[in-house]
Symmetry: C2
Subunit: 136 residues, 2 copies
DNA sequence: GTATATGCAAACCGTTTGCATGGCT
DNA sequence: AGCCATGCAAACGGTTTGCATATAC
């Protein structure tokens, strides 16, 4: 049995009850302290492979809950599915068009020196930067 | 009756047959030479309002065809629907979170001085920049 | 005449929801 | 006890597809 202290604390941070399913999913997401990019389906597959008994609907609901709790961020790259990123600060992504995978791009290598002026009465919510890659 | 020469030529450019429906949709998209951002539903509504008889499926198929012909670009901002932009060069967008609308952002006001290094064996396809706005 | 576009309805796929059951506090 | 999470299956919404008909070349 893995030590799930970190995952449990992570759930606490979002004010979420540490149920068996949430702990299992949290463990898969942040158990090793690395960043992860998942879809509902891919996380469901991960859980199933790990022998965890979680329903697909719960994976969806749980990811929504994590998202609303600010524990993960939703990223949209292709219309068909939603990706969730365990890294929650504003940073650029690589999108691998051939394999449909999403990974972090090094934030320090991106420099935006000027941004279009935000229109009257609006404020900046976030800047999504997706660097799309194709096989050379 | 509007002059549809421009729309007809635009279709030609993509190697697409100028059928009645395509002409009507093209006219709504590029008839006045301005850039437009539509979803299948919104274009369908535009067409219906203009009294054009086009089925929703044809709007979907036509937008796909325009996209594959390089006449428009598909942009994804929120997972639920696809937006199509008649401006095909790489440029930033404003996404108005409250009204779910997508508009162009002035490209000349965006300056990216450095971009994360493109990984081995990959090449840059496109850089999507979506500036998300919320009501102040 | 032949290839391709259209329209309709049904299929599709990722996601959400209603409702009954089960678990935390 | 009471609230909230879970599981299942059914509903959902945007999009695609199969097939018969109509249109462009």
């Amino acid at each position: 049995m893995t030590d799930r202290t970190h995952s449990a604390e992570w759930l606490m941070t979002g004010g979420l009850r540490p149920t068996r399913q949430r702990l299992a999913l949290a463990e898969l997401l942040v158990g090793d302290g690395l960043n992860r990019h998942v879809t509902a389906e891919s996380l469901f597959a991960l859980a199933s492979d790990a022998g965890e008994k979680v329903s697909l609907a719960t994976v969806y609901n749980t990811l929504r809950a994590f998202c609303e709790a600010g524990l993960v961020t939703e990223i949209v790259v292709d219309g068909s599915k939603s990706y969730f990123d365990t890294r929650t600060d504003d940073h650029p992504h690589f999108y691998w068009e051939d394999s449909h995978r999403l990974t972090d791009a090094p934030a320090e290598e991106l420099t935006i020196t000027s941004l279009p002026q935000v229109p009257q009465g609006m404020e900046l919510s976030r800047v999504d930067v997706v660097i799309r890659l194709r096989r050379a």
